[in-house]
């Protein structure tokens, strides 16, 4: 029997910034508890697993198996509340999703997002670039309008009844092929009404070529703009120099500030990468906030472990501490009325994704494809250049349905490391490319990334708990 494993509760308890937090992963419930309940829950869990839910029996057993520094009345009251949560389906809930995974694997998927590699070329020489200065292990190239047009046609034709379609203009540096971006936006708009579609365009740029004309167009047409900047000047310039070696910080900061203001501080991100060179990355987030940016994303570098700037396992404690520090700092700023949105601490508890989405993960290779300048399809931008993952092209469509099927089956239950992980419904099994780069297959997990992800989820929930306190 494949699904005989009963009573797989996933309870995660942790303390952060003075909050005791208990996550019941299978129901999605999150509780902020006092010290008694925090101690009682792991003891009660064992009994509930055995089917014992009687208040007096559980209380006696809890008191017998551990000397708690609370009175009998207090323990009994705490146990009573714990059992009530269990009765309400908010604690000790079982995993009911796994049996559905077979039907899930057979689901009909549609393509709803494309990452268009408008330019495999770049005017910066960022040291950590997974695109290798825009070239992606290949040749320099710009996407022609014809190729882009075919890609958009493919998207519309393969999107079934999905209305919202996403197209990211990515690179290299997409502003090096700006006319084609503009022409493709116009073409995409012309497809909307006849096909009942709505395009959401995103532009990712290093800012070097940004000017008023581009900004005006982007503000009219781009649902989101991602602006690459790493933080403090010395950090940014070290990793994001021009090809001649000089830094790009001074050129781009005023431009990015203008972009942020002109978009009313919404629907954009300044997006940085932190490396082993700046493990005090909270300082970079603070710096970006001090520059006036309200939408900030600063993320761990993805790099060959042999690179001197790559994050190492031994760095994990320091990095986790840094996230904790950042969470406290962001709460402080929020209370002072200077709040910013940090992408990796965003968590939508009330209106977050459904289970189907949480199971399907990022959608790479199925709902989401990357398109090279010459029209080849890959499962996502991070696989571009790896011929093993070449899926097809804009002329012939998807030729390697076997690879697509492999991505379709990639979910939290296909990954042994994810099964019992408390973060599985928040990260959805993590990044397939990171798993592949780390272990040579997409159904594993990038362990260092997992540790950071788990901490980010913990911090994000702690922030929610603190904000809920504030609301009272």
């Amino acid at each position: 029997m494949r699904y005989e494993r009963k009573n797989i509760f996933v309870i995660h308890q942790y303390k952060n910034n003075g909050y005791n937090i208990v996550m019941d992963v299978n129901s999605g419930s999150i509780h902020v508890v006092d010290d008694i309940v925090y101690d009682v829950i792991p003891l009660a869990e064992q009994l509930v697993k055995e089917g014992i839910r009687d208040l007096d029996t559980v209380t006696a057993a809890v008191e017998a198996c551990q000397k708690l520094s609370f009175s009998h009345e207090e323990v009994r009251e705490a146990v009573s509340e714990v059992l009530q949560l269990a009765k309400d389906g908010a604690l000790f809930t079982e995993d009911i999703y796994e049996p559905y995974i077979d039907s899930f694997k057979n689901r009909q998927t549609v393509v709803k997002a494309l990452c268009l590699h408008i330019a495999h070329d770049c005017n910066l020489a960022c040291q950590y670039c997974f695109a290798e200065e825009g070239e992606y292990h290949g040749r320099r190239a710009l996407m022609s309008f014809e190729v882009g047009k075919k890609a958009l046609d493919f998207l519309v034709a393969n999107s079934g009844n999905r209305v919202n379609l996403e197209v990211d203009f990515f690179g290299g540096e997409p502003l090096m092929n700006w006319q084609v971006v503009k022409d493709l936006v116009a073409y995409g708009r012309s497809l909307e009404e006849p096909h009942n579609k709505k395009f959401r365009f995103t532009l990712t740029t290093n800012g070097v070529l940004l000017n008023d004309e581009i900004l005006e167009f982007a503000n009219k047409e781009m649902s989101n703009v991602v602006l690459s900047i790493d933080g403090r000047k010395e950090v940014h310039d070290r990793m994001r120099p021009f090809r001649g070696g000089q830094g790009s910080y001074d050129l781009i900061v005023p431009k990015f500030q203008k972009v942020a203001e002109s978009r009313d501080q919404m629907n954009y991100y300044v997006r940085g990468t932190f490396t082993r060179n700046n493990m005090d990355f909270a300082e970079d987030v603070k710096h970006l906030a001090d520059l006036g940016f309200k939408q900030i994303s600063v993320e761990p570098v993805v790099a060959d472990p042999k690179e001197p700037y790559a994050l190492q396992e031994e760095d994990i404690p320091k990095l986790l501490e840094e996230y904790d520090k950042l969470a406290v700092e962001l709460l402080k700023r929020h209370k002072e009325g200077k709040g910013v949105n940090f992408f990796h601490f965003m968590i939508d508890l009330r209106g977050g994704p459904c289970v189907a989405k949480r199971l399907s993960g990022c959608g790479s290779g199925t709902e989401y494809l990357a398109v090279t300048p010459w029209g080849d399809f890959y499962p996502c931008h991070q696989f571009v250049g790896n011929e093993k993952f070449l899926l097809g092209n804009v002329d012939d469509g998807i030729l390697r349905t076997d690879i697509v099927d492999e991505f379709k089956c990639c979910n939290v239950y296909a990954k042994e490391k994810c099964r019992k992980c408390f973060a599985k419904f928040y990260c959805s099994g993590g990044c397939a490319a990171n798993s592949y780069n780390c272990h040579g297959n997409i159904n594993d997990a990038y362990d260092l990334g997992c540790e950071l992800q788990k901490k980010r989820v913990e911090c994000a929930i702690m922030i929610k708990a603190a904000l809920a306190d504030e609301e009272e």
């Binding site: 705490a78 994704p353 989405k357």
Partner: protein, 47 residues
């Protein structure tokens, strides 16, 4: 409850019944591009 405060969360079990419309954002399209972040996204129907 005296000892427990429950944060308001989406009931995952319930979301099985009505979920899966697929209109939500693809996670890598937002800002990340190097890590999978799904829990921070919003359901298109809940907006």
């Amino acid at each position: 409850m005296k000892h427990i405060k429950t944060l308001t969360t989406r009931n995952l079990k319930e979301s099985m019944k009505k979920g899966g419309c697929g209109e939500c954002q693809t996670s890598c399209q937002s800002a990340c591009k190097t890590s999978c972040t799904v829990g921070n996204q919003s359901c298109e129907k809940a907006k």
